[in-house]
Symmetry: C2
Subunit: 920 residues, 2 copies
Amino acid sequence: MKSKLVYSFGGGKSEADIGMKNLFGGKGASLADMAGQGLPVPPGFLIAVRAHQLFCENREKLPTDVNREIERGLARLEKLTGRKLGDPKNPLLVSVRPSACFAMPGTINTVLNLGLNDKSVEGLATVSGSARFAYSCYCRFISLFANVVLGVPIEPFLQILEEKKRDVGASDESGLGDGDLVDICRKYKALVKERHGKELPQVPAVQLAMARDAMFRSWDIESARSYRKLRKIPEETGTGVIVQAMVFGNAGKDSAAGVWFTRNPSTGAKEFCGEYRVDSQGTDMVAGLRTPSPIRNMKKEFPKAYDQLARISGRLEKRYKTVLSFEFTIEKNALYMLRVRQGERSAAAAFRMVVDMVKEKILTREEALLGVSARQVEQLLHPVVDPEAKVDVIAAGLPASPGAATGVIVFSADKAMERAMSGKDVILVRREISPEDIRVMEIVSGILTEKGGMTSHTAVIARQMGKTCVTGCEAIDVDEATGRFIAGTRVLHEGDEITLNGASGEVIFGKVPLTVPKMTGAFGVILSWGDSVRRLKVRANVDTPRDARVARDFGAEGIGLCRTQHMFFSEDRLSIMRELILAATKEERDAALARLLPMQRDDFKKLYREMKGHPVKIRLLDPPLNEFLPKRADLLVEIAKLEFSRADRTLIDEKRMVLARVEELQEINPMLGMRGCRLGICFPEITVMQVKAIFEAACEAARERIAVRPEIMVPLVSLVSEMRAQKDIIRQVADETMKRYKRKIAYSVGAMIEVPRAIITAGDIAREAEFFSFGTNDLTQTTFGFSRDDAGKFIQNYLSRSELCQRCGGKLEKNLSCASCEAKYLRKAENILESDVFHTLDVEGVGEFIRLAAEKGRSVRPNLKLGVCGEHGGEPRSVEFFDRVGLDYVSCSPYSVPVARLAAAQSALRRRMEGKKRKK
Amino acid sequence: MKSKLVYSFGGGKSEADIGMKNLFGGKGASLADMAGQGLPVPPGFLIAVRAHQLFCENREKLPTDVNREIERGLARLEKLTGRKLGDPKNPLLVSVRPSACFAMPGTINTVLNLGLNDKSVEGLATVSGSARFAYSCYCRFISLFANVVLGVPIEPFLQILEEKKRDVGASDESGLGDGDLVDICRKYKALVKERHGKELPQVPAVQLAMARDAMFRSWDIESARSYRKLRKIPEETGTGVIVQAMVFGNAGKDSAAGVWFTRNPSTGAKEFCGEYRVDSQGTDMVAGLRTPSPIRNMKKEFPKAYDQLARISGRLEKRYKTVLSFEFTIEKNALYMLRVRQGERSAAAAFRMVVDMVKEKILTREEALLGVSARQVEQLLHPVVDPEAKVDVIAAGLPASPGAATGVIVFSADKAMERAMSGKDVILVRREISPEDIRVMEIVSGILTEKGGMTSHTAVIARQMGKTCVTGCEAIDVDEATGRFIAGTRVLHEGDEITLNGASGEVIFGKVPLTVPKMTGAFGVILSWGDSVRRLKVRANVDTPRDARVARDFGAEGIGLCRTQHMFFSEDRLSIMRELILAATKEERDAALARLLPMQRDDFKKLYREMKGHPVKIRLLDPPLNEFLPKRADLLVEIAKLEFSRADRTLIDEKRMVLARVEELQEINPMLGMRGCRLGICFPEITVMQVKAIFEAACEAARERIAVRPEIMVPLVSLVSEMRAQKDIIRQVADETMKRYKRKIAYSVGAMIEVPRAIITAGDIAREAEFFSFGTNDLTQTTFGFSRDDAGKFIQNYLSRSELCQRCGGKLEKNLSCASCEAKYLRKAENILESDVFHTLDVEGVGEFIRLAAEKGRSVRPNLKLGVCGEHGGEPRSVEFFDRVGLDYVSCSPYSVPVARLAAAQSALRRRMEGKKRKK
């Protein structure tokens, strides 16, 4: 049996409902659904997506039987409205719109007032009693049909209109007379003839068939294709079509068109919002052509429609279980609903709305939890650039740490200190960050770097401190020596003011007002509901007692990563650390270690105190050591200058000695060099010192009756023999220290899994490791062979290729041709990546590795604890993956803890729902 | 039923044979086997390895029934010899030796002359008619027993002997009188009492039991444990013990001891070799105490024994199917065989021997193929340091490219050119190699660098050119500016002579004679036999027509990797390449590409010509671009100097411009940066140029009726979308070029698999790629997170930790204690790696990845071609793995092609044998 492809609605009845989205697309299904609910929807019919598929399969022709079904649908519509399409006396006018299952936002390809021709326009004039109205409708029809169906650009039509307005001295369309509009129609038609080569079709059935086919074809335009590719929308779905009787918000002062929100989209308050315009058609509204009135004015101006909309709001919120926005039209005081969809809303609003809707029993708690976006949570924790402010963007880099900051620029740590002391808000601008800079990160408002990626050290630390940061801003050229940076044609000097938007990566000239989104109680309510359903624990990456407190305040359930090398960045320790690294003999090394031991012990004790018995996972020293050293190039230049100025020989020799050691330690690829446990294996005395510090602190804390749960993590394990060697030392030193203090501390020893070899040999490693912590930053680097510090250049290209020429990589012209290479290659490039893999976990590659390692590890040690401590631990989509793959916890920067908590809860709920579905 | 643990042999019979190696160890089994063959072996008995296990399980005591079995074995021996152990009149003397399944070479722990005591020594004096002989035997017994069984150091015994010789003015032992020897015995016994605390045991049965237990315990000493760990010999096997009647080569002028080779170990010629010494015991021989006579002298001196050994040679070679070495003793003109084992031999000798043995019908061709070492093949292709030469080693680095070279040192490419022009052999010494240096690599004899690993670019190119190279020689300190390098206390200047040993990594002071091992016809014969059995194809990594010819001469079956960027290292092209990289606009880039196109086309045409229809796999440009650029530090110093000397502003500005671009391109981890297909995707015009060159060359070659089979390889693929994007361009440009030439060229497009993400998504990539070529160098880097350029430091430590303190990483003292850290931690560290993973494939990690990718790829595309083009393609153990995992070919440097051919043949044979075994 052939399936039905045309469904009618109107007159309080409907053949379709909201459950049939897949057949017609959301727009059509919701329209029919409202009609079926008895709401005032102009009658019409829907052509199913399947018809589009038949159209494509049949060489862009609809099969006869489908055409006949459409004819029958039209006949029903004519019967319902009592008018006929193209009737020269009292014509039925219709709108024709596409309705895809997955619509591309921002494309308007609606044809309005279809059914008008040179004759029926006169009939409309008579029936409506206004030639002006009829010709205005005709004008609109011609231009829309020409543009959407015939592919004539819209600009010349606008030009004709503008010229006429200028000729008659009218400031807007209302200043044009009947004759003017008739004249415009004539000119419009001439333009169609000229551009299209044929007359505007006058037979309404032909108009309808052509418009319908144009809707089908719109699915195939390049931008729609790219959009679908980007969003992974399957090509084979297609689009349905809505044919609906016109209503006219522009039928006089008793008519209007508007947009209605069932709640306040910025605050979430339960109050109707939106705006409308008297004597206007909906499309004007959307295009934002004239200033509208706020919705509250409707109470006076259209009290009946207002009450009706208020009732509909309550009814549909219950039915659709979300906040809604309507498009509506009032024609001669009668209300018509033209569209309903979920209302947009700010992060703060979203939280308030769903909590209210639970109170109103519209939503269950579970529905409320799933009704907010975890991604939006961060917005609630940081100040942002006032969305109302005018901004002058001079460059854009990577949005490395959210929030916004404004201040005067400086180019060195010393200057930052100096300016900050004098009470200024300071933004540190650097080519790249060096260890000296890290000590001033606490006192600056924001950081801007020319080099580095989203997960460069700078970015990681900035996020952790909740500090605004833009990295990899290759569009600027920083010259630290002369204290200035160049952005395009602008040169900015030390002391100039800029604003950073950490959420977008934008660098804004001058000082811009910032706003701190209000934190409503709803946020906390949702998080606590979430905590009761989530399985995945959330810990924080914390290096200092200060961060530990922030993390606990945000609900962290322990420390998932304490990077001990960050404890050495402060000024007094940096010099000891340098001694350690530059040590040429074991004696020198031991001396430096002896000085570091009490400092580490103190740090750990403070962390234990803050964490009050929650687990504290400490990673053994894992630096690319060169981060702690003076730069080779700087030394070379210094020596060259000293030699030239015939400086003291001993001074030069001293510098030469340092240079020699720096050169010895110099690495071509520090990321793959002497790092992680390689350091602890080559210099076991460093591990000995750190383990001593961990356990001396633990024993001392235990004396103070503080519960302690240290977990010791061996970084960058690639061989089980590395893990074994380090574990042996850890066990030895731990036993010995506990004996010395006569205390027993429960602790565990595990591996940080961050290179692919650890994945493929995870079974072996699990024999030695009591836990795995996946370091997804490094694992992403080694899995792809992408350096997070260098990948900025090509990842930007990878993410934005869909606008480039496939052949030469150049920007394409608007007509999709490439000016800079052979004309025959017009194919656009495809995006190589959909999202930055250093931000959102690469599920197919890195994710698959994590799944594999979890499986291998647990097959050997069933109670193996699994966690993540990379940057992805605070990214909602990634958190969902980690939950599904069965990890025990994620660890992220303190400011991301709430994000992760919510994302984990949502994932748990989705899994539960899927489980129920499967049972059915 | 309990198993028999003691087996007797002697008197022309034996209870054991060569097939029982696992029961007794090789030494014991071969001894019993010879006895069973009726050869003159002094009688004795073997104690099985199982007894050792029982000994360990039973708290270092042998169970009574085993003891009783041994007693019975002794009784049989006494019966056979007609003497009794400890008989004061005519004592039976025995030797006691360990015989492990896997023996550690270089450890001598034999006890000789056991059964002597203060009484039986007198009996022996009487029976032998020589008190001197008897006391000499007793002396030897006491010192050996004290050392091997009681653990007394050997030095004080030697001291006593030396003192006595000095006292009586004797130059050697033969100058000592009877009385002197009696006196030495007395002193020896006193020493035992003093050091051991007890008297030397006098009861022979006690001596025997103690010696036997000492053999068992020797299995457990630290060095043996480390050795087994290193060689992966299971701890639980243990050692057997041999108890055998003594024979005396030191019984007078009609007695002797010697070593006999059945063929010449250096040349492989079928002639008896070896040496012997009259009136001497075997152990003196092995320890090399006195100069022996060549074996040919035996013909005159001991004609009967000589003939007997000649006959035994033929018989045992047939039985054991290999060349052999014997230890023998002649006691009063009677020959005794004391040991047989496979004879050591040089690479050249090995090949000659097995080919001869096939002619002699001792071996089948298959046995011959398996009887040579693929690893030794490279020795046959390069000159080596004369093994006879005295060398003064001043430093050692990594053996990066085999062979040896001698010449004067220079520190720059220009100087190398200058000196080479004047006819000198030149050795280029550099901190690290820069692209300018590569152009002179052809003209230098050897390369020595302070930095870089075994698979650094320098090393790869050197191996490919067959040029001697030592890299990562961190023991030297190169100062290029002053033209000298420091090695320990030595300072060498430009023009000084050194010799490099590329096989060992040694740097030798001065000029040392080199020898070119003679290439015998046997080598070619073996290879051709191998070619007929191997499945795995062997290709070569080749970048120039010259290399291509070498590769074909060595039997390469195509090019597996042509690194197009190496085509740009020559001086004229380097500058164009720099233009390309420094290009700021597309126009500049296009101009540079247009100049490179004809050069590339020409290169490719030459390669096609050389390869005569064999496949030529061309990798698209894959440079870390910074390799082509001037170094940032150099520029900085230059600018600093220019500024200081107030040089011309425009000159400084020009340098600054270059610096700015270099800084822009600068990468923190170039290995993980803008490389591989990332370049071709961001700048598709480079791919377009290269593909044009490949197909223009192919079409032009086809016109000359040369068969061409280009295979185009997309490097560093991590995402299938990368592969798709590059393949699209390749197909477009290929089609277009072939159309232009009106030719059809069969070609394929595939992916180089060298990052772990390509492994885990190999199924997806195989949908787009027609072949996979595993780049094991980069895959090893990313799998481990090891930079091959930087890993030298810790990999050296990883490979040699078994001599280090586990606690502090310091060198251990001889007594295994650590001077530099707390004394209680004496445990030795375990080696983290067994071999350099950049040399021998890491089978558990990287190998497992290759297996996984092959499986995933072929499940999607069953005819997917699989190859390897990393450095491991020429390493025998790795080649065997590649064969077993089912790859189609390996590709290696031209000089390694014969190695790979042989290794592939051996692997095929071993697989065939395993298959047969399984069938049984």
